[in-house]
Subunit: 287 residues, 2 copies
């Protein structure tokens, strides 16, 4: 297992972690100042500052991406919606290429309209079928572009509105169905916040292996958790066995960055510099 | 599939649904007044009124139990705690017998102390081992007493503090390990609120079959869900495919009551009679 205690060379900051404090260009500067070598930005953050400007800034600072957030949200109420989703995923692939991302992370979506409280239908099996078809279609484009797609299983508490892929096993079954050979074009993003509870986690991480493990995200599960979306904990403040899980991932062959992704109204209220400094300190001590 | 539209003979009310409005004796009277044939009471509600009094009242009203809530919470910080948990489970078995329950529902517990925010340890695998051993020990007593134990898989968002059995597959694996022959002494309680999201749900319900399906609970998953514990929806107000899931359960051989269990600060604020009337109406129309 790699030694994280002496430095933070393998730390990546998912830029949602300080999204309410700073725009993305400032986040990149603050990361560069702290010798953070990698980030994972969100499309809306990139769009606000400008894609070309962010690409240039990354080049200047030498900061690389550990992933690009995000593609997905494939299910739609009708054929026009599904086509629009596919086109949007192609644009996301293009942007990921521009920024030199190692993969495009997919939050696959679920019941169309559920995020606004009015789902067009409630058949989650149908949504899962649309997700399979949507990833399949996006994969054709992404494969030609040379941009790997990383399916992120989301916690079952987000199954209705954000992602109907909810276990690592289910994500890997999808990978095997759509990319039989394990070409490297399709894999998974393992975010411990979403999967830590799974009794099959260790076995499925081993099954994933180097070919499928494209990204690794850390945060922590708080007691109590007060919100289904924005109450993630800083590493060390919750119950997730971070070191044990990292050992599983590294034993399966993963050698990439460990990406901190914390959606938290609590941490979004703190000064951004304090948040980044805490991420670095916890990464060295408890991740 | 059984026809629920003409009456509510197959409805059971889990008495937590109106626990903040009324004590248990009043709940039983209100159920009897509405020709509700079955309830599933909680131990603390029984204790408040008195076990003998409740047993007598059930006999007088002819109301039967669809289950008794609950045993479980097996993991503990030390051996004395585990022994105390086992003794408490034996008392729960005795009470279930006194009340003529068809099964004792198990909420198995997880990291000891997590409910109060201070877990004695964070190793969920260890908790799962203690749960297996605890159920095994309780089963010896329950089997002799003739009281089936029903393992209830809880939603993964409650994995840290309430139950480390989080999928139907995991619960059935435990049943097969501890009760190889399918004797009827050990099975599962399928609460759709906890398992509706599971991509393997249909297959695992079929696997469970008549021998293992001891209880069936309904409510609904709201969009948005504002609390991890007490924001369940009334049937029909959320996204769970209630009729589809009931078909799966009945095709697997289940012929028992359909039990409404709604933990909801919203519904706890309404008059108890309105809640019961709504349960009956929804049960006939959407369950």
């Amino acid at each position: 297992m790699r030694d994280f205690s002496a430095g933070h060379e393998l730390l990546s900051i998912n830029t949602a972690t300080v999204r309410k404090q700073w725009p993305l260009d400032r986040i990149i500067d603050e990361c560069a100042r702290r010798n953070v070598r990698a980030i994972s930005p969100w499309r809306d953050q990139v769009a606000t500052v400008g894609l070309a400007k962010i690409a240039r800034q990354l080049k200047e600072t030498g900061i690389v991406l550990s992933g690009y957030c995000r593609g997905g949200f494939f299910p739609a109420a009708d054929a026009a919606g599904r086509l629009a989703a596919l086109e949007d995923n192609r644009r996301a692939v293009d942007e990921a290429l521009m920024l030199g991302a190692p993969c495009l992370v997919l939050v696959v979506g679920s019941l169309p309209g559920a995020l606004t409280g009015s789902p067009a239908y409630c058949d989650i099996s149908r949504a899962r079928g649309e997700v399979r078809d949507g990833i399949g279609a996006a994969l054709e484009y992404a494969r030609q572009a040379g941009m790997p797609l990383a399916i992120e299983p989301l916690h079952p508490m987000q199954a209705a509105d954000r992602a109907c892929v909810n276990t690592l096993e289910q994500a890997l079954d999808l990978c095997d169905e759509l990319d039989r050979g394990g070409s490297g074009a399709l894999g998974v993003a393992v975010d411990l916040y979403h999967v830590w509870w799974d009794p099959k986690l260790e076995a499925q991480i081993a099954r994933a292996g180097t070919e499928r493990l494209l990204a690794y995200h850390v945060s922590d599960w708080l007691l109590p958790t007060r919100d289904l979306l924005n109450d993630r904990g800083m590493m060390g403040d919750g119950v997730i066995e971070l070191k044990k899980c990292r050992r599983w991932v590294e034993e399966a062959g993963f050698s990439g960055f460990s990406e901190v992704e914390i959606f938290s109204e609590t941490w979004w209220q703190k000064p951004g510099g304090d948040v980044l400094d805490t991420c670095i300190e916890r990464h060295m001590r408890v991740v």
